[in-house]
Structure formats: C-alpha cells, structure tokens
C-alpha cells in the first residue's frame, strides 16, 4: 500500500497545486510533498515494501538506487525553487528589463508540473510492466515541457518545441520497441510471457532472439534520445540552456536516469536471454561516442 502512496501523493499534490490560488499554500504543499517523498524513500531503506497493485509496481534493487537519487534531488530542488521563484518574481517586477514578450509561466502551473514530474518519475522507477514504463516516460516528457517553457520567450518556446518533437519521436520509437518486445514474447510454443519484468527475465530464454534484438535497438535509440546519448543528444544543450537552472538540474540528474532505467530494463532481459554480448557492444559504442562528442563540445564552449 505504501508503494502506491509514494506515487499517488505527489500526483495529487500536483493537481491540487494546479488548482489552488494562495501562493504560500502552494509552497507548503510543495515542501510537504518533498518531505513525504524523502521520508518514504528513507523508510524504504529499512523495510523493502512488498509489490503492490498486483505486481505492476515494485521496488527492485535497480529501481531503489534511482528512487533514492530522485527523491533526494527533488528535496533539494523544492527548497531551491522557492527562492528561485521569489527572485525571478523580483527580477520581473523591479527592473522591467525583461523584454515585453518575456512573461513568466504562471507559478501554479510551474509548481504543479514540478510535482507531477516527481510523480511520473517515481512511477517510471517503480513500474515493473514494460508498457507501464513507456507510459510513465511519455508522461514525464509531457509534464516537463511546461517546466522548460518557464521564461516565455521566443527562444525557450523553440527549445521546448524541439524538446517535445525530438522526445516524442524518441518515445514513439520506444513504444515500437516495447511492441517488438511484446511480439518477441510470442514464440512457437504458443504460451505467452506477460510483459512483467520478473516473468520476462525468467522466461527470457524462450523469447525470439531477432525480435528481442529489434526491441533492444528501438528502445536504445528511443530512450537514448530522451537520455541524450551521442547522436541523439542534440536537443539536450538547447533545452537545458533555456530551462531555469533548477529544472535543468532536475532534468539532467533525474529525468535522464529514468530514461536510462528503461534501457537497463531491456538490458536485463537481453542478458537473461543470453544475447548480452550484443547489448554490451552497443552500450560501449554509444558510450565512447558520447564521451568523444562531449569532449569536443566542451573544448569549444
């Protein structure tokens, strides 16, 4: 039951913040969510909660690392945002230097989406079903779009638009990968393996190798775009430079992890299915390419 709480609470508080009008009430809700989330994660450190929602949500070892990172960082981001909002408010009022077009995203939407982002990220981490994982990642993209579009000027609109288009193309490929995985589970023997991580890993040997490879490629490219692997990283610098610093911190620190988690899940399946060499080669290739591209661009900034 607690497991559902850690997802539902941020979701509800996000919706409430969207609606509520008083400024400091919103802030209280934000702080409350951050504390509750961190408290629950801390609690999970001691007693690993049982799977809930008949197997769809569970905290496995891999997910737990990401969960602790995400909640800790969100906790920090929450406090930082309070001050950030106050300062940008101040900036907007007194110096009027912001160009006329420069308006700020209404605070309600900003804080609301922030909490929804936390909810969706927690959902991604906890989901054991591959399909649910895809839905959660899609949700994180949609929720984070308005966050990037905080300073409403022409450049951040363009950055958001790029972020949306490229990430949705990526996620569409991710969806295709999930479907490939689903088809891969249907083998000649006729019995089906449900798309739950536990069954997939145990029954991995019976999956069709070709479809599994196809699934891996699509998911790697799809979620790789979201994660910012080398050839697909092009949206990352633009989006992060336009987004407010706290958001780019959250994006790069936690959101990329969730996308990476998606890839790691499929990697688990590949390892179980015995084609580990195939996936490892790709990982190494993309890794080196990303390091090289990053080095070149850092050198030039």
């Amino acid at each position: 039951m607690i497991l559902q709480a850690i997802v539902v609470i941020p979701f509800l508080s996000g919706l409430v913040t969207l609606v509520v009008h008083q400024r400091n009430l919103r802030k209280i809700i934000l702080i409350f969510t951050a504390i509750v989330h961190l408290g629950l994660t801390f609690f999970f450190w001691f007693t690993r909660p049982p799977a809930s929602f008949h197997g769809w949500l569970a905290v496995d070892a891999l997910g737990f690392i990401f969960l602790s990172i995400t909640s800790l960082l969100f906790f920090a981001a929450a406090f930082y945002t309070l001050d950030y909002l106050a300062r940008s408010e101040q900036q907007g009022k007194d110096i009027h230097s912001l160009s006329a077009k420069e308006m700020l995203q209404p605070e309600a939407i900003f804080l609301g989406c922030l909490q929804l982002l936390l909810a969706t990220m927690t959902l991604t981490i906890l989901s054991q079903h591959v399909g649910l994982l895809w839905v959660a990642i899609e949700a994180t993209t949609l929720v984070s779009a308005p966050l990037i579009y905080f300073h409403k000027n022409e450049r951040s609109l363009e950055a958001t638009w790029k972020y949306l288009i490229i990430c949705s193309v990526g996620i569409a490929l991710g969806l295709l990968g999930t479907i490939f995985l689903d088809i891969a589970t249907f083998n000649t023997a006729g019995q089906r393996v449900p798309l739950f991580m536990r069954e997939l890993v145990n029954g991995a040997f019976f999956l069709q190798k070709d479809w599994l490879k196809g699934a891996f490629i699509f998911i790697l490219v799809g979620y790789g775009t979201k994660m910012g692997l080398a050839p697909m990283h092009t949206w990352l610098p633009d989006a992060h430079s336009e987004a407010p610093s706290v958001i780019s911190m959250l994006l790069s620190a936690t959101l990329l992890n969730c996308a990476f988690l998606g890839i790691l899940r499929i990697h688990q399946i590949c390892v179980a299915a015995g084609i580990a060499v195939f996936s490892q080669q790709l990982f190494i290739g993309f890794g080196i390419l990303s390091i090289f591209v990053a080095a070149v661009f850092i050198f030039n900034q």
Binding site: V135, L164, F180, I183
Partner: protein
Amino acid sequence: MSYWADVIFVLIVVLNLGLLSSSRLGNCIRLVAIEGALLGLLPLLLQGGQPEGRTFVFALGSILVKGIILPLMLNWAVREANIFREVEPFIGYTVSMVIGVVLLIVSFWISARLVLPIEVSRLAVSTALFTILVGLFLIVSRKKAITQALSYLVMENGIFIFGTMAVALETSFMGIIIFHINRQFEHIDMDQLASLKDWHGTRHSEERT
C-alpha cells in the same frame, strides 16, 4: 480474411507514397485521414475469428478519431495559420519519392528477418516499418511545423499497425493505453502550432550569439 488485410496494407503503402509526393497541405491531411480510417478497420480483420465487443469498440473509436476528428483539427490549424502550400521543403518531392522506394526495400528486407510467429500476413511488419520510416523521413524533410505534426501522425499509424498486431495477440490493454496517450499529445501539439505558424526551424543559439 487475411486477403482483405493484405489489400489494406497495400493501400496504406500506396497512401504513404502519395504523401511523400504531395505538396498541398490539404491533400496531405486528407491522405492521412483515409490512412487513419483504413487502419481503424485493421483490428477487426486481423482478429481472425469472431471479433469480441472490445476490439469492435476500439476499432470504431480509432476510425472516428483518426479519420475525422484529427483531420478537422489540422484543417482548423491550417486555416488559422492560412498557409496552404508547403514552400520549398528541404528535400524535393521527386527525391522524396526515390527515398520512399529505398525505405520500402529496407523495410521489406528487415521484415524478412523478423519472421512473425503467427500466420498474420507477411505484409504486416513491412508495411508498419515502412509507415514509420516514411513518418520519420517526412518530419526531417519538411519545413512547416504543421507538416511535421502530420508526419508524426503517420509515424503513429505505423506504430498502430504494430499495435494492432499486438492487440491481435491479446495485449488489448496496451493498445488502449497507447490510444489515449497519443490523443493527449496531439492536443498539446495543436495549440503550440497556432502560436508558431510562421516558424520553420530557424537557426538557433550557436550562430546568433
């Protein structure tokens, strides 16, 4: 039963090729609408035996949305931004056709590798792959934001074909989820478009600053 499915698949391939070569926006929207409607029928045919009620509702829903609602919204956006012709796309139409054929060959070749376990028509995988690749290609090769949204829809259709196959393979729950999420995305897409009517991928930060 699979005969009809093959007909639909061939029709979809033809529609995609048509999309590649058409320069008028209205025409493109109409092609995508027909393609959406055809795809709506697919789950019924692929079901093989007696289609249950759920897939029936599902097919009807998808025809309704893909065939009618989305084109209307796109047309509204086109009228709103009063742009009717795709002006000098990155890659010319004839060249797009050639690339379309190449993509067809590639998708057939890859689908030959990905043998389907069940006796769904051989065309299914290749048509799906082809539609996705055409969608991706259109996003890249067309300048207008609206055309990009359109080509994103084409890619959705491609995935939908895969989805229907999966649905045929009893993962209906997945299909429904896919369906709703995409709708929400299209909606957000639309209002963004309204405010970006003249935008067509201007050059960004590095050069100007």
